[in-house]
C-alpha cells in the first residue's frame, strides 16, 4: 500500500531523512514515532507530494509520488500537524469547498457531507462558522475534510496534538472507527503510549533514520529483550582487542567501549553468557568485574519517544 524506498531529504544544512525504506501493508494502522525533529512530518509531506525528496522514491497504492502525483492525491487523505481554517465560512461550506476541490459532483456532495459530519460527530455544527469551533472540533472537522473523497490511505500528522485528554479519547475512538472502515493509516506522534493500543505496526524514527519498524509486540519484545553485560578490564589498552574479539562472536549484537569498561549486548534468547568470559580469558585479557547491566531500555525508549521537549 505504502512502499518507501531509499527516501532521503536534505535541507540546506540538515539531513531530515536518511535512506528510509519500509513497506506498509493494506489495512495496517502504522504508528510513526520519533522525538521532535526526527523527520516524521518530512516523511508525511513527501508521501503527500508536498515536498520533493532529494533522492529515493515512494509508491502509494502503486502510484509513484514523483511521477504520478495526481493519482496519489486521489487516494490519500492528509492531515497536517498545523493547519488553519478559512474564516467567514460555515462548516458545511468548508466541506463543500473541499468536495468541489476533489471534483466530486455537486449533487453528490450533500450526502457525503452528511456522512462525514456524522462520522466525526459534528452533525449539529453544520451551520456554525468554522473559526468559532473549539480546537478539538476543528481537529475533527479537519479529519472530516480529509475524508470527503474517501481516500484509501490516511496520512495523519499528530492528529491529537494540542487536545485535552477527553478530546484525545474522542479522537482515538474516531481513529478506531477508521480502522474498522478498512483504511490504511499512517499516524505520527512523539508519544508511544498514545498510539500503542490501536496501531498494529509501529516505526521508530530518530534524527532521520529508521531504528525499528514492525508489529508492536515484536518491537517491544526486542527492546525489552536485550541483555547487557558490563565488563571492566584490568588494562584499558586491551579494550580494542577485546572489542574485536567479542564483536566477532555470533551471539554478540553490539559492544561499546568506555575506557576500560565494555558493554556487551546479547539477545534475550541467549541464556548463557559465560562464553564472554571464556573468550576473553583464553586470549589473555584480564577482567576485574563482570555483571549484568541494570539499564532498563524500555524506560529509555519511552523517554526518548516522548521527546526532549515537553
Amino acid at each position: 500500500m505504502i512502499a518507501i524506498k531509499g527516501l532521503t531529504k536534505e535541507y540546506k544544512n540538515v539531513t531530515a531523512l536518511r535512506d528510509l525504506t519500509m513497506t506498509i501493508a493494506q489495512g495496517d494502522i502504522f504508528g510513526y514515532i520519533g522525538p521532535n525533529g526526527a523527520g516524521k512530518t518530512t516523511t508525511i509531506k513527501i508521501l503527500a507530494t508536498l515536498v520533493k525528496p532529494t533522492s529515493g522514491h515512494a509508491e502509494i497504492c502503486n502510484y509513484n509520488i514523483l511521477t504520478q502525483p495526481d493519482d496519489v492525491k486521489r487516494v490519500i487523505g492528509y492531515m497536517p500537524d498545523f493547519f488553519g481554517v478559512y474564516d467567514d465560512m460555515k462548516v458545511w461550506e468548508y466541506l463543500d469547498f473541499f468536495g468541489a476541490a476533489y471534483k466530486i459532483e455537486k449533487t453528490k456532495r450533500r450526502k457525503i457531507i452528511d456522512d462525514v459530519l456524522e462520522l466525526t460527530d459534528l452533525g449539529e455544527k453544520r451551520n456554525d462558522f468554522v473559526e468559532a469551533l473549539s480546537r478539538g472540533m476543528k481537529q475533527r472537522l479537519c479529519l472530516a475534510k480529509t475524508l470527503v473523497h474517501d481516500p484509501q490511505v490516511l496520512l495523519l500528522d499528530e492528529p491529537a496534538s494540542g487536545l485535552d485528554p477527553r478530546a484525545r479519547i474522542e479522537m482515538r475512538e474516531l481513529l478506531k472507527e477508521l480502522r474498522n472502515l478498512g483504511k490504511t493509516v499512517l499516524i505520527s506522534s512523539h508519544i508511544l503510549t498514545e498510539l500503542s493500543d490501536f496501531c498494529n505496526t509501529i516505526g521508530i524514527l530518530e534524527k532521520g533514520e529508521l531504528l525499528a519498524a514492525g508489529e508492536v509486540s515484536a518491537i517491544m519484545d526486542q527492546i525489552k529483550g536485550a541483555r547487557i553485560v558490563e565488563i571492566t578490564l584490568r588494562q584499558a589498552d586491551d579494550a580494542p582487542r577485546a572489542h574485536d574479539l567479542l564483536i566477532a562472536h555470533p551471539e554478540v549484537t553490539a559492544v561499546e567501549i568506555d575506557g576500560a569498561d565494555l558493554q556487551v549486548e546479547v539477545p534475550i534468547t541467549c541464556d548463557d553468557v559465560s562464553f564472554i568470559n571464556e573468550a576473553l580469558t583464553t586470549s589473555g585479557i584480564r577482567i576485574t568485574s563482570f555483571r549484568e547491566s541494570e539499564i532498563d531500555l524500555e524506560d529509555i525508549f519511552m523517554k526518548i519517544t516522548k521527546g526532549a521537549v515537553q
Binding site: 525504506t21 503527500a48 493547519f83 459532483e105 519498524a213 531500555l297
Partner: protein, 576 residues
C-alpha cells in the same frame, strides 16, 4: 455512517470526468464548470459578499464619484456665470471632458490597485493561515485556482466600473463623449487591471509570507511606471513610433512606424493592444499556476518555456517579414532584441535549480543514449535550435532584398554561427556557476560579471588602447580581440560596418573572425564539463525508481537496526 459514501464515491469521481455529450458541448460545459463550480470562485464570492465591508466600500465609492461630479459641474457653472463671453456648447463639452477624465482617473487608481491586492491576498492568505497544504493535496488543478481567483476578482472590478456608469452617463447630456469612449475606457481598464491582478497572483505565489501584499503593490507601481514612463514615452514618443490604440496599454506602440505588422498582415492598433494584453495575462497566469501549489517548481516547464520563447521570437520576426522590405534601421534593433531574448532564455534556464525537474524524464526513459546527457544541455540545444529556425527565416528574407546578396549571405551565416557559439558559451558559464554556487542569484552574479568583462570591458579597453597608441597595441590586442570582439562584430554586421568604424577602427581579419566562435565553442565544452563533474554526485535517478519493486511489508518482516540500543542509550545520555 460513511460506508454508503465509501461505496459509490469512486464512481462519482470518475463520472465527473466522463459525462456524455458531444465534444463541443462538453468543452463549453467544462469551461462553465471551471468558473461556476470552481471552489475558489465560489468561496471568494461568498466571503466578499457576506461581510458588510463590500457594501460600505461601494457606498463610499459612489459617494466620492458623486462629489467629484458635483464639484466639476458646480465649478463649470460658476465659470459660465461669471465669464463675459460664453460659448455655452464649448463650455459644456469642456465640462463633460473634465468629468470623464476625473472619473476615469479615480476609477483607474482604484481598479489598478484593488485588483492585484485582492488576488495577492487570495494567494497569501492561504499561506498565512496555513490552509495551502490542504489545497495542494486535493486534485484541484492549479489552473482552477488561478482562474477562480482571477474570475472572482474581475467580477468585483467589473462591479466597481459599473458603479460609475450613472455618473459617467451625465456626460452624454452635455455631449462630447460617446458611449464607445466609455466602453473603450472600461475595456482598457479591465484588461490592464487583469494584467496587474494576474501579476499580483504570480508575485504572491512565489513569495513566502505576508510581504507578498507589499510586493504586489510595488509590482503594480513598477508596472505602471514602466508602462507609462518607459514603454509609452520612450518607445512611443522618443522613437516616434506607435500611435492609436488604447491609452492604457502599451503594446501597439512597439510596432515600428505606427503600423502593427504580423507577417505582412496589418493589424489595427487596438487589436494589437488587446492581443498583447491577453498574451501577458496568459503569461502571468501560467507563472502563477506553476508555483502556487508547487513552490519548488521551475517558473516554466521546458516546453512552456520553449513555447513562450518561440512566441516572442516570432513576434519580432513578424515585424520584419512580409511583402515589403522592412525599414533598414529596424534590422539591427530586431537583431539585438532576439539575441537578448536568447541570452536571457539561456541564462534563466542554465542558472536554474541544480536539481532538474522531471520534464524530460520520459525522453530519457525512452532513449537510453540521452541518459548520460545533462538535461540542461538538451534544453540548451532545443532553445538555440529554435532560435536558428526562426531567426534564419527572417534573416534570409532580409537577404533577399539586399543590394549585395552574396555579401549579405555571408553575414547571415556568420551571424547564426556567432550567436549560436555565444549562447552556448554563456549557457555553459551559467551552468558552471550554478553548480558551483548552488543558488541562482550568485550564479547569475558571477555569470554576468564574466560576460561583462569579456563582452564590454575588454572590447572597450582594446578600443582605448588602439586609440591611444596603435603601434604599441596592435600586436598584443589583435589576439585578445579574438575573444572580445564577437558581440561587437555581431552588432556591426547587422547595422552595417559603420558601428564598428566609429568604435575605433579595430582591425578585423576574416580568418580571426571565423575562428572566434570556435574558441567560444571550446570554452563552452570546458565549462559544461566542469559543471557536470561538479554535478555528477547529485544526479536524480532517471527511472524514478519505477523499475524497483519494494520488499515485503514490515508487518510480515520487522526491521530492527542492530545498533538500536547504542543509539537509544546515546540519546538518553544526551537527554540527561
Amino acid at each position: 455512517m460513511a460506508t454508503g459514501a465509501v461505496e459509490n464515491q469512486e464512481q462519482m469521481i470518475e463520472g465527473a470526468s466522463a459525462r456524455p455529450g458531444r465534444a463541443g458541448t462538453r468543452a463549453i460545459r467544462w469551461i462553465g464548470d471551471q468558473i461556476i463550480d470552481n471552489p475558489i470562485f465560489l468561496r471568494e464570492l461568498r466571503r466578499r459578499m457576506r461581510g458588510r465591508a463590500l457594501f460600505i466600500a461601494m457606498i463610499a465609492y459612489i459617494a466620492i464619484m458623486c462629489a467629484v461630479a458635483f464639484v466639476v459641474i458646480f465649478a463649470k457653472t460658476m465659470e459660465i456665470r461669471t465669464s463675459e463671453v460664453v460659448n455655452i456648447h464649448f463650455k459644456m463639452k469642456e465640462m463633460s471632458d473634465q468629468l470623464f477624465t476625473w472619473v476615469a482617473v479615480i476609477q483607474g487608481v482604484l481598479v489598478l490597485l484593488v485588483g492585484p491586492i485582492i488576488t495577492a491576498g487570495i494567494a497569501t492568505s492561504e499561506k498565512e493561515k496555513k490552509t495551502l497544504d490542504f489545497l495542494q493535496v486535493t486534485t484541484l488543478h492549479p489552473w482552477a485556482f488561478v482562474i477562480g481567483a482571477l474570475a472572482s476578482t474581475m467580477l468585483y472590478i467589473l462591479l466597481v466600473l459599473l458603479c460609475a456608469l450613472p455618473v459617467l452617463s451625465i456626460t452624454f447630456l452635455f455631449g462630447g463623449r460617446a458611449p464607445s469612449d466609455i466602453a473603450a475606457s472600461f475595456g482598457s481598464l479591465l484588461l490592464l487591471s487583469m494584467i496587474l491582478s494576474a501579476g499580483g497572483l504570480w508575485i504572491a505565489s512565489i513569495r513566502e509570507r505576508s510581504r507578498s501584499a507589499q510586493s504586489a503593490l510595488l509590482f503594480v507601481v513598477g508596472i505602471i511606471i514602466v508602462n507609462f514612463l518607459l514603454l509609452r514615452f520612450f518607445a512611443g514618443r522618443m522613437l516616434s513610433l506607435g500611435g492609436g490604440g488604447s491609452a492604457l496599454l502599451p503594446f501597439s506602440s512597439f510596432a515600428p512606424g505606427g503600423q502593427v505588422n504580423i507577417f505582412g498582415v496589418g493589424v489595427r492598433a487596438w487589436h494589437a493592444d488587446i492581443i498583447g494584453a491577453l498574451i501577458v495575462i496568459a503569461f502571468f497566469a501560467l507563472l502563477a499556476a506553476r508555483r502556487i501549489f508547487n513552490p519548488e517548481n521551475r517558473a516554466l516547464s521546458y516546453w512552456q518555456g520553449l513555447v513562450f520563447f518561440a512566441v516572442a521570437q516570432l513576434l519580432v520576426a513578424a515585424q520584419l517579414w512580409g511583402p515589403r522590405m522592412p525599414q533598414p534601421d529596424i534590422i539591427p534593433g530586431a537583431g539585438i532584441v532576439t539575441w537578448a531574448l536568447l541570452m536571457v532564455g539561456v541564462l534563466v534556464y542554465q542558472t536554474g535549480r541544480v536539481e532538474m525537474g522531471n520534464e524530460v524524464w520520459r525522453l530519457k526513459r525512452r532513449f537510453r543514449f540521452l541518459r548520460g546527457i545533462d538535461e540542461s544541455v538538451i534544453h540548451q540545444l532545443m532553445l538555440i535550435g529554435l532560435w536558428v529556425l526562426i531567426a534564419q527565416w527572417w534573416l534570409r528574407s532580409t537577404v533577399a532584398y539586399a543590394t549585395q546578396p552574396q555579401v549579405t549571405h555571408r553575414l547571415w551565416i556568420q551571424t547564426l554561427w556567432f550567436v549560436t557559439a555565444n549562447a552556448l558559451f554563456a549557457g555553459a558559464l551559467g551552468r558552471f556557476f550554478a553548480h558551483l554556487t548552488r543558488t541562482r542569484s550568485s550564479a547569475l552574479r558571477w555569470t554576468f560579471l564574466t560576460l561583462l568583462i569579456l563582452y564590454v570591458i575588454l572590447p572597450l579597453a582594446i578600443i582605448f588602447l588602439v586609440k591611444m597608441n596603435s603601434a604599441y597595441a596592435s600586436q598584443f590586442t589583435v589576439r585578445l580581440t579574438v575573444l572580445a570582439h564577437v558581440p561587437w562584430v555581431y552588432l556591426g554586421q547587422l547595422g552595417g560596418e559603420n558601428v564598428i568604424r566609429e568604435l575605433g577602427n579595430v582591425p578585423f581579419e576574416g580568418g580571426i573572425l571565423q575562428t572566434a566562435p570556435l574558441v567560444y565553442l571550446v570554452l563552452a565544452g570546458v565549462f559544461y564539463f566542469l559543471a557536470f563533474s561538479l554535478h555528477r554526485s547529485r544526479r536524480i535517478d532517471p527511472d524514478y525508481g519505477v523499475a524497483q519493486r519494494p520488499e515485503r511489508p514490515i508487518s510480515e518482516k520487522p526491521f530492527i537496526r542492530a545498533d538500536i540500543f547504542q543509539i537509544l542509550r546515546r540519546d538518553a545520555a544526551e537527554l540527561d
